[in-house]
């Protein structure tokens, strides 16, 4: 089992948002977590990535059998957990290439593998950039600074490609994307799909799932998973909205 979330209760500022969430993810699987606003989707992403403002109240999160909660966000990343942000942060003055090389080499060092010098890394980065059709001119630009919404999301997927995580959580990656950007991002993710890694797509809309076919769909309402199924569940949600599952959640 790659990821196992057991009866997770978590929240922010003393407010409980996740109220007993269970989730099991095996290598090679793609899971979609869907749900209305306020259902706890974003909280789940942030808790898994280790955001310091969120607190785990009770329950367990095991990543390859290890307690993920006790790891710092950067340790989780080096262990192979990646989160693509809904709102990627701008880092002025630090070039994309510099940042990615540092991140890549930190992981290599952690895993006892060889680090790459700037020239070697540049070649590696160029290869990875093809996955999201990103122009190498973006390497020199400051991380996300002045990027359009679509460019930021592509940059997130580029980071995922460079860091090669075992588990990637894509938090509302489809939000704010036009159809072309959505296609590029989705195709990028599809290219990164493999039997060794799992992907969790956190999304409000079914739109992204037309491009990235999930193996499992989980519907989150009021901090709990209230319905689970295959990809057909997403289509049903798109047709019926969330009201019927919310009602199910209250029962």
């Amino acid at each position: 089992m790659l990821l196992e979330v057991k009866d997770l209760h978590a929240g922010i500022d003393g407010k409980e948002i996740l109220k007993g969430l269970n989730l099991r993810v095996e290598k090679g699987e793609v899971h979609a977590i869907m749900g209305p606003n306020g259902s706890g989707k974003s909280t789940l992403s942030k808790v898994l990535a280790g955001h310091p403002s969120y607190q785990v109240i009770s329950g367990e999160v095991l990543f390859e059998g290890r307690n993920l909660i006790e790891l710092e966000p950067d340790e989780r990343a080096r262990e192979g957990v990646f989160m693509a942000f809904q709102y990627p942060v701008e880092v002025p003055g630090v070039s994309n290439a510099q940042f990615l090389r540092l991140a890549y080499n930190e992981k290599q060092k952690y895993l006892g593998r060889e680090e790459l010098d700037p020239l070697e890394f540049n070649d590696y980065l160029k290869e990875k950039a093809k996955i999201v059709e990103m122009d190498p001119q973006f390497f020199k630009r400051s991380v996300n600074e002045g990027f359009s919404g679509g460019e930021k999301k592509r940059n997130e997927i580029l980071q995922m490609a460079v860091l090669d995580p075992k588990l990637a959580i894509l938090d509302e990656t489809d939000s704010g994307l036009d159809i072309d950007a959505l296609r590029i991002v989705a195709e990028g993710v599809n290219k990164l799909r493999s039997k060794d890694k799992a992907i969790i797509l956190v999304t409000h809309y079914q739109r992204l799932l037309n491009y990235i076919q999930p193996d499992f769909v989980h519907v989150l309402a009021d901090g709990r998973i209230v319905k689970e199924g295959g990809k057909e569940l997403a289509i049903e949600l798109e047709e019926k909205g969330y009201d019927w599952v919310k009602a199910a959640g209250r029962r």
Binding site: G50, E72, D74, V91, P92, G93, V94, L163
Partner: protein, 383 residues
């Protein structure tokens, strides 16, 4: 009698009488005497003076200084040096008066319509126990272009007290790098005065890294329309360092543009001061002025006093100014950490990025590399 001055050091009087006997040119002798009298009157600037209230220069008054340099020789110039010097208001404070009294004068003239290549490099470094008082005039004749690199590497317990006056002629352009990387126990005071003629361009980047106590006064004046100035800087402080930048940008005439971007990074128990005034005088229509001072405090004991000021005596202007004092953004830190960067490295990368906005403007690769290295050394990190 003014109560605002500290007692000037008695050792100066003896050294001054020796110097004045060796000074051959009577006009220069006169000037030095007037300046020395002003110094005796003004003394070392005291915190009781409004412009010095955050910067206590008392440690300088407590040392028996020796004057350093070959100060009796007078450079030949046309017009004569005395005429050039006479326009200088040495009475602004005790340090500028002391600078002229003991001034090591030099004149650099860039001929009209000439692009000077390579850069003019000067270094101003007092030795331990000494005051060094360079006084340099850089004159860019019309249509000329040059780069000036002014570096400071003052020794511990040395005091560099410098004056630089820049005259940017019609359509001339000067790129000025002022690199203060003094020893940790050094003192530094510098005044940079700039006059920008019609269509002239002055582009400055001032980096302040060293010294235990330093102050840089900048006074840029537009004397004819069409001038442009960029007056940027960075102060990077740690330990118990104190740095003060006082800047005046004076739009005396209309249709000139000024941009000022100063950034401060303050760690440990360091202290920074930024005081910037932009004057837009009556009749200076079409002025375009922007000023920004942003500070990053890395410790609870660090402190900065920032005061950007705009004084506008005209309606037809486009001006903005602002200052911020903050700490590293938690969201930015979290973002970097989710990419596998350990907390210390993530912090350092953000600090580096903050400084880089100023550093990346530097066009000379070697200087940029050196400052990057000094920054990384300061952060005790490799990036």
């Amino acid at each position: 009698m003014s109560v605002t001055k500290a007692a000037p050091n008695a050792a100066f009087a003896k050294q001054f009488s020796e110097l004045i006997q060796q000074t051959e040119a009577p006009e220069i002798r006169e000037l030095r005497e007037a300046a020395f009298a002003a110094f005796l009157e003004l003394g070392i600037p005291s915190v009781k003076l409004e412009a010095w209230k955050y910067t206590n220069m008392a440690p300088i008054a407590a040392i028996d200084w020796k004057i350093q340099g070959k100060i009796s020789s007078i450079p030949k110039s046309d017009p004569p040096l005395a005429d050039l010097l006479r326009g200088f208001r040495f009475t602004r404070n005790g340090f500028t008066a002391l600078n002229v009294a003991f001034g090591e004068f030099a004149v650099i003239r860039v001929p009209a319509e000439t692009k000077l290549d390579p850069p003019i490099e000067i270094s101003c470094s007092a030795e331990a126990g000494s005051i060094y008082t360079p006084h340099l005039l850089v004159i860019l004749e019309p249509g000329s272009k040059a780069t000036l690199i002014e570096s400071f590497a003052t020794a511990d317990n040395g005091f560099t007290n410098s004056v630089l006056r820049v005259f940017v002629g019609k359509g001339a352009a000067l790129t000025h790098y002022r690199l203060q990387n003094d020893s940790a126990g050094a003192f530094n005071y510098g005044l940079t005065e700039i006059f920008i003629d019609r269509g002239g361009f002055y582009d400055a980047t001032s980096i302040n890294i060293g010294a235990r106590l330093s102050r840089h006064d900048i006074e840029a004046v537009f004397t004819a329309p069409g001038g442009e100035a960029r007056v940027d800087g960075l102060y990077l402080l740690g330990g118990r360092q104190h740095h003060d930048t006082h800047s005046v940008i004076d739009h005396r005439v209309g249709h000139c543009a000024s941009r000022q971007n100063y950034k401060g990074i303050l760690g440990d128990a360091s202290r920074g001061v930024f005081n910037g005034i932009v004057y837009v005088r009556e009749g200076a229509a079409g002025t375009d002025a922007q000023q920004s001072n942003k500070n990053l405090l890395l410790s609870n004991d660090a402190r900065v006093d920032t005061k950007p000021q705009l004084e506008i005596f005209n309606d037809d202007v486009k001006c903005s100014h602002g200052a911020t004092v903050g700490q590293l953004e938690e969201e930015e830190l979290f973002y970097l950490r989710t990419r596998g960067l350990p907390e210390v490295l993530a912090r350092n990368l953000l600090i580096y990025g903050f400084a880089e906005e100023i550093i990346e403007k530097i066009e000379i690769a070697e200087i940029k590399r050196n400052i990057d290295a000094a920054l990384l050394d300061h952060l005790k990190t490799g990036i």
